[in-house]
Protein backbone atom coordinates (compact mmCIF):
# COMPACT_ATOMS: atom_id res chain seq x y z
CA UNK A 1 0.00 0.00 0.00
CA UNK A 2 2.08 2.93 -1.19
CA UNK A 3 1.37 6.33 0.29
CA UNK A 4 1.44 9.58 -1.59
CA UNK A 5 -1.60 8.78 -3.70
CA UNK A 6 -2.70 12.11 -5.08
CA UNK A 7 -6.44 11.59 -4.76
CA UNK A 8 -8.28 14.61 -3.53
CA UNK A 9 -11.67 14.47 -1.89
CA UNK A 10 -14.08 17.09 -3.16
CA UNK A 11 -15.84 18.51 -0.09
CA UNK A 12 -18.81 19.57 -2.16
CA UNK A 13 -19.46 16.12 -3.49
CA UNK A 14 -18.97 14.45 -0.14
CA UNK A 15 -20.75 16.95 2.03
CA UNK A 16 -22.77 15.83 4.98
CA UNK A 17 -25.85 17.15 3.27
CA UNK A 18 -26.04 13.75 1.59
CA UNK A 19 -27.25 12.36 4.89
CA UNK A 20 -29.28 15.49 5.54
CA UNK A 21 -32.33 13.89 3.95
CA UNK A 22 -32.47 11.64 6.96
CA UNK A 23 -33.52 14.64 9.06
CA UNK A 24 -36.77 14.98 7.19
CA UNK A 25 -37.47 11.28 6.96
CA UNK A 26 -36.62 10.83 10.61
CA UNK A 27 -38.73 13.72 11.80
CA UNK A 28 -41.79 12.44 9.97
CA UNK A 29 -41.28 8.88 11.18
CA UNK A 30 -40.67 10.11 14.69
CA UNK A 31 -43.82 12.20 14.87
CA UNK A 32 -46.00 9.50 13.34
CA UNK A 33 -44.47 6.85 15.56
CA UNK A 34 -44.87 8.91 18.67
CA UNK A 35 -48.45 9.75 17.88
CA UNK A 36 -49.36 6.20 16.97
CA UNK A 37 -47.72 4.62 19.99
CA UNK A 38 -49.36 7.08 22.36
CA UNK A 39 -52.69 6.56 20.69
CA UNK A 40 -52.44 2.80 20.71
CA UNK A 41 -51.08 2.26 24.18
CA UNK A 42 -50.21 5.56 25.77
CA UNK A 43 -49.56 5.29 29.47
CA UNK A 44 -49.77 1.50 29.61
CA UNK A 45 -47.03 -0.98 30.40
CA UNK A 46 -47.03 -2.06 26.76
CA UNK A 47 -46.11 1.45 25.68
CA UNK A 48 -43.24 1.75 28.12
CA UNK A 49 -41.86 -1.70 27.38
CA UNK A 50 -42.06 -1.18 23.62
CA UNK A 51 -40.32 2.13 24.07
CA UNK A 52 -37.62 0.50 26.22
CA UNK A 53 -36.88 -2.11 23.54
CA UNK A 54 -36.70 0.54 20.83
CA UNK A 55 -34.57 2.75 23.06
CA UNK A 56 -32.04 0.03 23.91
CA UNK A 57 -31.94 -0.87 20.21
CA UNK A 58 -30.99 2.55 18.94
CA UNK A 59 -28.82 3.22 21.97
CA UNK A 60 -26.84 0.09 21.14
CA UNK A 61 -26.21 1.45 17.65
CA UNK A 62 -25.05 4.82 18.98
CA UNK A 63 -22.87 3.23 21.67
CA UNK A 64 -21.48 0.81 19.11
CA UNK A 65 -20.50 3.83 17.07
CA UNK A 66 -18.72 5.35 20.07
CA UNK A 67 -16.81 2.11 20.53
CA UNK A 68 -15.85 1.93 16.87
CA UNK A 69 -14.53 5.49 16.80
CA UNK A 70 -12.59 5.06 20.04
CA UNK A 71 -10.96 1.79 18.98
CA UNK A 72 -10.22 3.05 15.49
CA UNK A 73 -8.52 6.04 17.07
CA UNK A 74 -6.55 4.23 19.73
CA UNK A 75 -5.22 1.57 17.33
CA UNK A 76 -4.04 4.23 14.94
CA UNK A 77 -5.96 2.50 12.17
CA UNK A 78 -5.86 3.97 8.71
CA UNK A 79 -8.10 1.66 6.69
CA UNK A 80 -11.34 3.08 8.00
CA UNK A 81 -10.58 6.79 7.97
CA UNK A 82 -12.79 7.34 4.92
CA UNK A 83 -15.82 5.99 6.71
CA UNK A 84 -14.97 7.15 10.20
CA UNK A 85 -16.93 10.37 9.83
CA UNK A 86 -20.11 8.46 9.04
CA UNK A 87 -19.72 6.46 12.23
CA UNK A 88 -18.78 9.61 14.18
CA UNK A 89 -22.06 11.11 13.11
CA UNK A 90 -23.94 8.15 14.55
CA UNK A 91 -21.92 8.53 17.74
CA UNK A 92 -22.74 12.23 17.86
CA UNK A 93 -26.44 11.43 18.33
CA UNK A 94 -25.73 10.17 21.85
CA UNK A 95 -26.85 13.39 23.62
CA UNK A 96 -30.33 12.91 22.10
CA UNK A 97 -30.69 9.71 24.06
CA UNK A 98 -31.02 11.73 27.23
CA UNK A 99 -34.18 13.21 25.73
CA UNK A 100 -35.40 9.85 24.45
CA UNK A 101 -35.00 8.50 27.98
CA UNK A 102 -37.85 10.68 29.25
CA UNK A 103 -40.66 8.16 28.53
CA UNK A 104 -38.66 5.49 30.35
CA UNK A 105 -38.24 7.83 33.28
CA UNK A 106 -41.94 8.65 33.25
CA UNK A 107 -42.90 4.97 33.08
CA UNK A 108 -40.26 3.68 35.41
CA UNK A 109 -42.70 2.32 37.94
CA UNK A 110 -44.47 0.38 35.22
CA UNK A 111 -41.24 -1.13 33.97
CA UNK A 112 -39.17 -1.84 37.06
CA UNK A 113 -40.94 -3.79 39.77
CA UNK A 114 -38.15 -3.18 42.26
CA UNK A 115 -39.18 0.47 42.34
CA UNK A 116 -42.39 -0.49 44.09
CA UNK A 117 -42.23 -0.36 47.84
CA UNK A 118 -44.43 -3.48 48.12
CA UNK A 119 -42.05 -5.52 45.99
CA UNK A 120 -39.15 -4.71 48.24
CA UNK A 121 -41.13 -4.99 51.47
CA UNK A 122 -41.59 -8.77 51.32
CA UNK A 123 -38.36 -9.58 49.55
CA UNK A 124 -35.22 -9.46 51.67
CA UNK A 125 -33.08 -9.99 48.62
CA UNK A 126 -34.36 -6.87 46.92
CA UNK A 127 -34.03 -5.04 50.21
CA UNK A 128 -30.41 -6.11 50.33
CA UNK A 129 -29.83 -4.56 46.93
CA UNK A 130 -31.46 -1.31 47.92
CA UNK A 131 -28.13 0.46 48.32
CA UNK A 132 -27.76 0.17 44.57
CA UNK A 133 -31.30 -0.40 43.33
CA UNK A 134 -33.00 2.69 44.62
CA UNK A 135 -34.65 5.32 42.50
CA UNK A 136 -32.38 8.16 43.49
CA UNK A 137 -29.12 6.38 42.78
CA UNK A 138 -30.60 4.85 39.60
CA UNK A 139 -31.50 8.28 38.35
CA UNK A 140 -28.13 9.77 39.30
CA UNK A 141 -26.35 6.99 37.45
CA UNK A 142 -28.50 7.65 34.38
CA UNK A 143 -27.48 11.31 34.45
CA UNK A 144 -23.86 10.25 34.77
CA UNK A 145 -24.13 7.96 31.75
CA UNK A 146 -25.67 10.68 29.59
CA UNK A 147 -23.07 13.20 30.67
CA UNK A 148 -20.21 10.79 30.00
CA UNK A 149 -21.59 9.73 26.62
CA UNK A 150 -22.39 13.28 25.55
CA UNK A 151 -19.00 14.62 26.57
CA UNK A 152 -17.13 11.81 24.83
CA UNK A 153 -19.26 11.89 21.69
CA UNK A 154 -19.28 15.66 21.36
CA UNK A 155 -15.60 16.13 22.08
CA UNK A 156 -14.46 13.44 19.68
CA UNK A 157 -16.69 14.60 16.86
CA UNK A 158 -15.95 18.31 17.26
CA UNK A 159 -12.22 17.68 17.41
CA UNK A 160 -12.50 15.61 14.26
CA UNK A 161 -14.48 18.39 12.62
CA UNK A 162 -11.88 20.94 13.70
CA UNK A 163 -9.25 18.90 11.93
CA UNK A 164 -11.24 19.33 8.71
CA UNK A 165 -10.59 23.05 8.98
CA UNK A 166 -7.08 23.24 10.40
CA UNK A 167 -5.56 19.92 9.34
CA UNK A 168 -3.45 19.88 12.53
CA UNK A 169 -1.71 16.60 13.20
CA UNK A 170 -1.77 17.51 16.87
CA UNK A 171 -5.50 16.79 16.93
CA UNK A 172 -4.93 13.18 15.93
CA UNK A 173 -2.39 12.82 18.72
CA UNK A 174 -4.76 14.43 21.20
CA UNK A 175 -7.61 12.12 20.23
CA UNK A 176 -5.33 9.13 20.47
CA UNK A 177 -4.26 10.12 23.92
CA UNK A 178 -7.82 10.53 25.14
CA UNK A 179 -9.26 7.43 23.50
CA UNK A 180 -8.12 4.91 26.13
CA UNK A 181 -9.85 6.89 28.87
CA UNK A 182 -12.90 6.97 26.63
CA UNK A 183 -12.78 3.20 26.31
CA UNK A 184 -12.64 2.71 30.08
CA UNK A 185 -15.59 5.07 30.53
CA UNK A 186 -17.43 3.37 27.71
CA UNK A 187 -16.95 -0.07 29.26
CA UNK A 188 -18.16 1.00 32.68
CA UNK A 189 -21.11 3.12 31.57
CA UNK A 190 -22.35 0.61 29.00
CA UNK A 191 -22.14 -2.22 31.53
CA UNK A 192 -24.00 -0.38 34.25
CA UNK A 193 -26.56 1.07 31.85
CA UNK A 194 -27.29 -2.50 30.77
CA UNK A 195 -27.56 -3.57 34.41
CA UNK A 196 -29.77 -0.61 35.31
CA UNK A 197 -32.10 -0.66 32.34
CA UNK A 198 -32.16 -4.30 31.22
CA UNK A 199 -30.91 -6.64 33.91
CA UNK A 200 -32.88 -4.98 36.69
CA UNK A 201 -36.11 -5.87 34.85
CA UNK A 202 -35.57 -9.16 36.64
CA UNK A 203 -34.17 -7.95 39.94
CA UNK A 204 -33.65 -11.44 41.34
CA UNK A 205 -31.49 -12.49 38.41
CA UNK A 206 -27.90 -11.58 37.70
CA UNK A 207 -25.09 -12.32 35.30
CA UNK A 208 -21.54 -10.96 35.20
CA UNK A 209 -21.66 -11.32 31.42
CA UNK A 210 -24.61 -9.04 30.76
CA UNK A 211 -22.56 -5.95 29.88
CA UNK A 212 -20.43 -7.90 27.41
CA UNK A 213 -23.57 -9.40 25.91
CA UNK A 214 -25.11 -6.03 25.19
CA UNK A 215 -21.78 -4.76 23.88
CA UNK A 216 -21.37 -7.65 21.44
CA UNK A 217 -24.82 -7.04 19.99
CA UNK A 218 -24.10 -3.33 19.75
CA UNK A 219 -21.00 -3.86 17.63
CA UNK A 220 -22.88 -6.14 15.24
CA UNK A 221 -25.58 -3.49 15.02
CA UNK A 222 -23.28 -0.56 14.28
CA UNK A 223 -21.35 -2.47 11.64
CA UNK A 224 -24.59 -3.41 9.89
CA UNK A 225 -25.93 0.12 10.24
CA UNK A 226 -22.72 1.57 8.81
CA UNK A 227 -23.06 -0.62 5.74
CA UNK A 228 -26.57 0.72 5.20
CA UNK A 229 -25.57 4.32 5.82
CA UNK A 230 -22.71 4.15 3.35
CA UNK A 231 -25.02 2.78 0.67
CA UNK A 232 -27.57 5.45 1.47
CA UNK A 233 -24.84 8.01 0.91
CA UNK A 234 -23.94 6.34 -2.37
CA UNK A 235 -27.56 6.72 -3.44
CA UNK A 236 -27.31 10.46 -2.68
CA UNK A 237 -24.20 10.72 -4.84
CA UNK A 238 -21.65 10.85 -2.05
CA UNK A 239 -18.80 8.62 -0.87
CA UNK A 240 -18.44 6.73 -4.15
CA UNK A 241 -14.78 6.19 -4.88
CA UNK A 242 -13.90 7.34 -1.39
CA UNK A 243 -15.42 4.50 0.61
CA UNK A 244 -14.64 1.69 -1.78
CA UNK A 245 -15.38 -2.00 -1.97
CA UNK A 246 -12.14 -2.55 -0.03
CA UNK A 247 -13.46 -0.66 2.99
CA UNK A 248 -16.81 -2.40 2.76
CA UNK A 249 -15.05 -5.74 2.69
CA UNK A 250 -13.24 -4.83 5.89
CA UNK A 251 -16.48 -3.79 7.55
CA UNK A 252 -17.97 -7.09 6.41
CA UNK A 253 -15.01 -9.00 7.85
CA UNK A 254 -15.54 -7.27 11.17
CA UNK A 255 -19.25 -8.01 10.97
CA UNK A 256 -18.43 -11.67 10.39
CA UNK A 257 -16.04 -11.70 13.33
CA UNK A 258 -18.35 -9.92 15.74
CA UNK A 259 -21.30 -12.11 14.74
CA UNK A 260 -19.20 -15.03 15.92
CA UNK A 261 -18.26 -13.05 19.03
CA UNK A 262 -21.91 -12.37 19.82
CA UNK A 263 -22.73 -16.05 19.45
CA UNK A 264 -19.79 -16.98 21.66
CA UNK A 265 -20.89 -14.58 24.40
CA UNK A 266 -24.55 -15.54 24.14
CA UNK A 267 -23.74 -19.23 24.24
CA UNK A 268 -21.29 -18.84 27.12
CA UNK A 269 -23.88 -17.16 29.28
CA UNK A 270 -26.59 -19.66 28.36
CA UNK A 271 -24.40 -22.72 28.65
CA UNK A 272 -22.92 -21.98 32.05
CA UNK A 273 -26.34 -21.33 33.48
CA UNK A 274 -27.77 -24.43 31.80
CA UNK A 275 -25.03 -26.70 33.01
CA UNK A 276 -24.97 -25.68 36.67
CA UNK A 277 -28.74 -25.72 36.66
CA UNK A 278 -29.18 -23.42 39.65
CA UNK A 279 -32.84 -22.28 39.74
CA UNK A 280 -31.90 -18.75 40.80
CA UNK A 281 -30.17 -18.36 37.44
CA UNK A 282 -32.02 -20.73 35.15
CA UNK A 283 -35.27 -18.82 35.72
CA UNK A 284 -34.05 -16.36 33.08
CA UNK A 285 -33.90 -18.98 30.35
CA UNK A 286 -36.90 -20.92 31.63
CA UNK A 287 -39.00 -17.81 31.05
CA UNK A 288 -37.67 -17.62 27.54
CA UNK A 289 -38.58 -21.20 26.73
CA UNK A 290 -42.32 -20.68 27.27
CA UNK A 291 -44.55 -20.79 24.23
CA UNK A 292 -43.37 -18.83 21.25
CA UNK A 293 -40.40 -17.48 23.19
CA UNK A 294 -38.82 -20.87 22.62
CA UNK A 295 -39.05 -20.54 18.85
CA UNK A 296 -37.90 -16.95 19.03
CA UNK A 297 -34.80 -18.11 20.86
CA UNK A 298 -34.07 -20.78 18.30
CA UNK A 299 -34.66 -18.27 15.55
CA UNK A 300 -32.05 -16.10 17.22
CA UNK A 301 -29.45 -18.85 17.30
CA UNK A 302 -30.07 -19.72 13.67
CA UNK A 303 -30.69 -16.26 12.32
CA UNK A 304 -28.30 -14.11 14.31
CA UNK A 305 -25.42 -16.56 14.06
CA UNK A 306 -25.62 -19.52 11.69
CA UNK A 307 -27.11 -17.78 8.67
CA UNK A 308 -24.74 -14.76 8.73
CA UNK A 309 -21.81 -17.05 9.51
CA UNK A 310 -22.18 -19.05 6.32
CA UNK A 311 -23.43 -16.11 4.29
CA UNK A 312 -20.51 -13.82 5.08
CA UNK A 313 -17.80 -16.44 4.81
CA UNK A 314 -16.93 -16.18 1.08
CA UNK A 315 -14.69 -13.33 0.09
CA UNK A 316 -16.83 -12.53 -2.93
CA UNK A 317 -19.92 -11.91 -0.81
CA UNK A 318 -18.06 -9.38 1.31
CA UNK A 319 -17.41 -7.34 -1.83
CA UNK A 320 -20.94 -7.28 -3.23
CA UNK A 321 -23.05 -4.29 -2.26
CA UNK A 322 -26.41 -5.95 -2.83
CA UNK A 323 -25.53 -8.93 -0.65
CA UNK A 324 -24.05 -6.73 2.06
CA UNK A 325 -27.21 -4.65 2.20
CA UNK A 326 -29.30 -7.81 2.55
CA UNK A 327 -27.12 -9.10 5.39
CA UNK A 328 -27.01 -5.72 7.12
CA UNK A 329 -30.79 -5.47 7.17
CA UNK A 330 -31.04 -9.09 8.27
CA UNK A 331 -28.65 -8.58 11.20
CA UNK A 332 -30.42 -5.40 12.25
CA UNK A 333 -33.71 -7.30 12.34
CA UNK A 334 -32.08 -10.08 14.31
CA UNK A 335 -30.62 -7.56 16.74
CA UNK A 336 -34.14 -6.28 17.35
CA UNK A 337 -35.30 -9.82 17.95
CA UNK A 338 -32.41 -10.24 20.40
CA UNK A 339 -33.33 -7.22 22.50
CA UNK A 340 -37.03 -8.02 22.25
CA UNK A 341 -36.32 -11.55 23.49
CA UNK A 342 -34.27 -10.17 26.36
CA UNK A 343 -36.77 -7.55 27.52
CA UNK A 344 -40.31 -8.54 26.53
CA UNK A 345 -40.78 -11.83 28.40
CA UNK A 346 -41.13 -9.60 31.47
CA UNK A 347 -44.28 -8.09 29.98
CA UNK A 348 -45.60 -11.06 27.99
CA UNK A 349 -44.59 -14.20 29.84
CA UNK A 350 -46.93 -16.45 27.82
CA UNK A 351 -45.28 -15.85 24.48
CA UNK A 352 -43.95 -13.36 22.00
CA UNK A 353 -46.54 -10.74 21.11
CA UNK A 354 -45.11 -8.44 18.53
CA UNK A 355 -47.67 -5.74 17.92
CA UNK A 356 -48.33 -2.35 16.41
CA UNK A 357 -47.20 -0.58 19.55
CA UNK A 358 -43.77 -2.16 19.14
CA UNK A 359 -43.62 -0.97 15.57
CA UNK A 360 -44.85 2.49 16.47
CA UNK A 361 -42.41 2.89 19.36
CA UNK A 362 -39.63 1.67 17.08
CA UNK A 363 -40.61 4.29 14.52
CA UNK A 364 -40.77 6.96 17.19
CA UNK A 365 -37.36 6.33 18.70
CA UNK A 366 -35.81 5.45 15.37
CA UNK A 367 -37.27 8.48 13.69
CA UNK A 368 -35.92 10.86 16.28
CA UNK A 369 -32.56 9.09 16.15
CA UNK A 370 -32.44 9.38 12.35
CA UNK A 371 -33.47 13.03 12.50
CA UNK A 372 -30.64 13.73 14.93
CA UNK A 373 -28.24 11.76 12.73
CA UNK A 374 -29.27 13.73 9.65
CA UNK A 375 -28.92 17.00 11.51
CA UNK A 376 -25.40 16.37 12.89
CA UNK A 377 -24.24 14.97 9.56
CA UNK A 378 -25.35 17.94 7.50
CA UNK A 379 -23.20 20.31 9.54
CA UNK A 380 -19.89 18.79 8.45
CA UNK A 381 -18.24 16.98 5.61
CA UNK A 382 -18.93 13.32 5.18
CA UNK A 383 -15.24 12.49 5.05
CA UNK A 384 -12.51 13.66 7.47
CA UNK A 385 -11.08 15.94 4.82
CA UNK A 386 -7.72 16.66 6.34
CA UNK A 387 -7.05 13.62 8.48
CA UNK A 388 -3.36 12.83 8.00
CA UNK A 389 -4.22 9.22 7.30
CA UNK A 390 -6.81 9.94 4.66
CA UNK A 391 -4.49 9.31 1.69
CA UNK A 392 -3.52 5.93 3.12
CA UNK A 393 -7.18 5.09 3.60
CA UNK A 394 -8.13 6.20 0.09
CA UNK A 395 -5.54 3.96 -1.51
CA UNK A 396 -6.27 1.03 0.76
CA UNK A 397 -6.51 -2.33 -0.94
CA UNK A 398 -7.21 -5.75 0.47
CA UNK A 399 -4.85 -8.51 -0.58
Amino acid sequence: MSAGHAVTVDPAQHSGKALGRLTGIGAVLGVIGLGASLALAGGTKQFYFSWLVAYMYFLSIALGALFFVLVHTVTRAAWGVTLRRVVENVMATLPVFALLFVPIWLGRHEIYEWMHAEAAAHNPIIQGKAAFLNEGFWFTRAIFYFVAWSVLATWFSTQSQKQDETGEERISARLRGAAPIGIVLFALTTTFATIDWMMSLEPMWYSTMIGVYFFSGAVVAILSFTLLLVHFAYAQGALRGVVTVEHLQDVAKLLFGFTIFWAYIAFSQYFLIWYANIPEETIYYMKRQVGSWQSAGMMLALGHFLVPFFFLMPRAVKRQSALLIVMAIWQLLMHFLDLHWCIMPNLHPEGMKLGLTDVAAFAAVGGIFLAALGWVSSRRALVPLRDPRLPESLSFENV
Binding site: F267, F271, W274, Y275
Partner: protein
Protein backbone atom coordinates in the same frame (compact mmCIF):
# COMPACT_ATOMS: atom_id res chain seq x y z
CA UNK B 1 3.69 -36.55 -3.77
CA UNK B 2 6.79 -38.37 -2.47
CA UNK B 3 9.61 -35.89 -2.60
CA UNK B 4 12.32 -38.38 -2.06
CA UNK B 5 11.79 -39.69 -5.57
CA UNK B 6 12.91 -37.48 -8.42
CA UNK B 7 10.06 -35.34 -9.68
CA UNK B 8 8.31 -36.73 -12.71
CA UNK B 9 9.01 -34.22 -15.42
CA UNK B 10 8.63 -34.80 -19.14
CA UNK B 11 11.71 -35.95 -21.07
CA UNK B 12 14.20 -33.45 -22.40
CA UNK B 13 17.80 -32.42 -22.16
CA UNK B 14 17.22 -29.33 -20.08
CA UNK B 15 14.81 -28.37 -17.33
CA UNK B 16 14.46 -24.87 -18.68
CA UNK B 17 15.79 -21.35 -18.32
CA UNK B 18 16.45 -19.42 -15.11
CA UNK B 19 16.58 -15.63 -15.05
CA UNK B 20 17.73 -13.60 -12.07
CA UNK B 21 16.54 -10.17 -10.95
CA UNK B 22 17.69 -7.77 -8.29
CA UNK B 23 14.46 -6.42 -6.83
CA UNK B 24 10.82 -7.35 -6.28
CA UNK B 25 9.78 -4.59 -8.63
CA UNK B 26 11.95 -5.91 -11.45
CA UNK B 27 10.60 -9.40 -10.90
CA UNK B 28 7.03 -8.12 -10.85
CA UNK B 29 7.33 -6.32 -14.16
CA UNK B 30 9.19 -9.21 -15.72
CA UNK B 31 6.38 -11.54 -14.71
CA UNK B 32 3.88 -9.35 -16.47
CA UNK B 33 5.91 -9.57 -19.66
CA UNK B 34 6.27 -13.33 -19.48
CA UNK B 35 2.55 -13.69 -18.78
CA UNK B 36 1.69 -11.47 -21.72
CA UNK B 37 4.00 -13.47 -23.98
CA UNK B 38 1.70 -16.44 -23.41
CA UNK B 39 3.83 -18.79 -21.34
CA UNK B 40 2.06 -21.17 -18.98
CA UNK B 41 4.69 -23.52 -17.55
CA UNK B 42 6.81 -21.06 -15.68
CA UNK B 43 7.24 -19.73 -12.21
CA UNK B 44 8.65 -16.83 -10.23
CA UNK B 45 10.80 -17.35 -7.14
CA UNK B 46 11.37 -15.02 -4.21
CA UNK B 47 12.45 -15.17 -0.57
CA UNK B 48 9.06 -13.86 0.52
CA UNK B 49 5.64 -13.61 -1.14
CA UNK B 50 5.37 -10.56 -3.36
CA UNK B 51 2.21 -8.57 -3.05
CA UNK B 52 0.09 -8.85 -6.17
CA UNK B 53 2.31 -11.24 -8.05
CA UNK B 54 -0.55 -13.66 -8.72
CA UNK B 55 -2.17 -11.09 -10.95
CA UNK B 56 1.17 -10.30 -12.59
CA UNK B 57 1.57 -13.97 -13.37
CA UNK B 58 -2.03 -14.52 -14.36
CA UNK B 59 -2.78 -17.25 -11.83
CA UNK B 60 -6.03 -17.31 -9.91
CA UNK B 61 -6.75 -17.70 -6.22
CA UNK B 62 -5.98 -20.91 -4.40
CA UNK B 63 -8.84 -23.38 -3.96
CA UNK B 64 -7.65 -24.41 -0.55
CA UNK B 65 -10.58 -22.79 1.33
CA UNK B 66 -13.00 -25.31 -0.16
CA UNK B 67 -10.92 -28.17 1.20
CA UNK B 68 -10.92 -26.54 4.61
CA UNK B 69 -14.66 -25.94 4.57
CA UNK B 70 -15.56 -29.49 3.64
CA UNK B 71 -13.22 -31.05 6.17
CA UNK B 72 -14.23 -28.59 8.87
CA UNK B 73 -17.89 -29.39 8.43
CA UNK B 74 -17.06 -33.09 8.44
CA UNK B 75 -15.31 -32.59 11.76
CA UNK B 76 -18.26 -30.71 13.23
CA UNK B 77 -20.82 -33.27 12.14
CA UNK B 78 -18.58 -36.19 13.05
CA UNK B 79 -17.78 -34.77 16.48
CA UNK B 80 -21.40 -34.15 17.36
CA UNK B 81 -22.46 -37.53 16.01
CA UNK B 82 -19.78 -39.35 17.99
CA UNK B 83 -20.84 -37.74 21.23
CA UNK B 84 -24.54 -38.20 20.67
CA UNK B 85 -23.98 -41.84 19.87
CA UNK B 86 -21.45 -42.65 22.58
CA UNK B 87 -23.20 -40.93 25.45
CA UNK B 88 -26.77 -41.31 24.22
CA UNK B 89 -26.98 -44.73 22.60
CA UNK B 90 -23.91 -46.85 23.17
CA UNK B 91 -23.55 -46.38 26.94
CA UNK B 92 -26.09 -43.94 28.29
CA UNK B 93 -25.44 -42.73 31.82
CA UNK B 94 -27.27 -40.32 34.03
CA UNK B 95 -24.90 -37.50 34.79
CA UNK B 96 -26.16 -34.72 37.08
CA UNK B 97 -29.66 -35.15 35.75
CA UNK B 98 -28.86 -34.17 32.24
CA UNK B 99 -30.95 -35.76 29.47
CA UNK B 100 -29.45 -38.63 27.45
CA UNK B 101 -29.69 -36.59 24.29
CA UNK B 102 -28.68 -32.99 24.46
CA UNK B 103 -26.52 -30.77 22.35
CA UNK B 104 -25.36 -28.14 24.81
CA UNK B 105 -22.45 -29.94 26.52
CA UNK B 106 -21.33 -31.40 23.21
CA UNK B 107 -20.64 -28.00 21.65
CA UNK B 108 -17.05 -27.60 22.91
CA UNK B 109 -15.78 -30.90 21.53
CA UNK B 110 -17.79 -30.51 18.32
CA UNK B 111 -16.17 -27.17 17.78
CA UNK B 112 -12.68 -28.52 18.49
CA UNK B 113 -13.11 -31.48 16.14
CA UNK B 114 -14.18 -29.11 13.41
CA UNK B 115 -11.17 -26.90 13.89
CA UNK B 116 -8.79 -29.85 14.11
CA UNK B 117 -9.95 -31.41 10.86
CA UNK B 118 -10.06 -28.04 9.15
CA UNK B 119 -6.50 -27.24 10.20
CA UNK B 120 -5.09 -30.65 9.31
CA UNK B 121 -6.73 -30.56 5.91
CA UNK B 122 -5.47 -27.03 5.32
CA UNK B 123 -1.86 -27.91 6.02
CA UNK B 124 -1.80 -31.20 4.18
CA UNK B 125 -3.96 -29.79 1.44
CA UNK B 126 -1.45 -27.01 0.98
CA UNK B 127 1.36 -29.54 0.78
CA UNK B 128 -0.62 -31.45 -1.82
CA UNK B 129 -1.40 -28.38 -3.91
CA UNK B 130 2.27 -27.36 -3.71
CA UNK B 131 3.47 -30.89 -4.42
CA UNK B 132 5.63 -30.73 -1.33
CA UNK B 133 7.90 -32.32 -0.21
CA UNK B 134 9.97 -32.10 -3.34
CA UNK B 135 13.57 -32.30 -2.22
CA UNK B 136 15.20 -32.92 -5.59
CA UNK B 137 13.94 -30.18 -7.87
CA UNK B 138 16.32 -29.49 -10.78
CA UNK B 139 16.66 -25.85 -9.77
CA UNK B 140 18.58 -26.88 -6.67
CA UNK B 141 21.39 -27.89 -9.01
CA UNK B 142 22.04 -24.27 -9.89
CA UNK B 143 24.35 -22.67 -7.35
CA UNK B 144 23.09 -19.13 -7.92
CA UNK B 145 19.64 -20.34 -7.00
CA UNK B 146 20.67 -20.59 -3.36
CA UNK B 147 20.05 -16.86 -3.15
CA UNK B 148 16.34 -17.41 -3.57
CA UNK B 149 15.91 -17.90 0.17
CA UNK B 150 18.07 -14.90 0.95
CA UNK B 151 17.60 -11.96 -1.38
CA UNK B 152 17.45 -13.38 -4.88
CA UNK B 153 14.54 -13.09 -7.29
CA UNK B 154 14.17 -15.48 -10.22
CA UNK B 155 11.95 -16.54 -13.05
CA UNK B 156 12.14 -20.10 -14.32
CA UNK B 157 10.57 -21.15 -17.60
CA UNK B 158 10.23 -24.88 -18.10
CA UNK B 159 11.40 -26.46 -21.31
CA UNK B 160 8.16 -28.28 -22.06
CA UNK B 161 6.11 -25.10 -22.22
CA UNK B 162 4.56 -25.00 -25.72
CA UNK B 163 6.12 -21.60 -26.38
CA UNK B 164 9.55 -22.53 -25.14
CA UNK B 165 12.46 -21.97 -27.48
CA UNK B 166 15.95 -21.84 -25.98
CA UNK B 167 17.01 -18.79 -27.96
CA UNK B 168 13.74 -16.85 -28.15
CA UNK B 169 12.81 -17.35 -24.53
CA UNK B 170 16.31 -16.36 -23.48
CA UNK B 171 16.01 -13.16 -25.46
CA UNK B 172 12.63 -12.43 -23.90
CA UNK B 173 13.97 -12.93 -20.42
CA UNK B 174 17.01 -10.79 -21.10
CA UNK B 175 14.73 -8.04 -22.33
CA UNK B 176 12.76 -8.03 -19.06
CA UNK B 177 15.73 -6.66 -17.13
CA UNK B 178 17.25 -9.89 -15.87
CA UNK B 179 20.76 -9.59 -14.50
CA UNK B 180 21.57 -13.16 -15.50
CA UNK B 181 19.93 -15.84 -17.68
CA UNK B 182 21.12 -19.44 -17.78
CA UNK B 183 20.09 -22.88 -18.87
CA UNK B 184 19.22 -25.36 -16.13
CA UNK B 185 20.31 -28.98 -16.60
CA UNK B 186 17.82 -31.81 -16.33
CA UNK B 187 18.50 -33.61 -13.10
CA UNK B 188 18.72 -31.60 -9.92
CA UNK B 189 21.72 -32.36 -7.72
CA UNK B 190 20.99 -33.69 -4.26
CA UNK B 191 22.11 -31.60 -1.29
Amino acid sequence: MPGFLPPFFPEGEHFGLLAEYDSPGALFHACEKVRDAGYSKWDAHSPFPIHGIEKAMGIGRSRLPYVTLVCGLTGVIGGMALQLWANGIAYPMIISGKPFFNWQPYVPITFECGILLAALSTVFGMFAFNKLPMHFHPLFGVERFEKVTDDGFFISVEAWDPKFDAAATERLLASTGATNVQLVPRRGATS
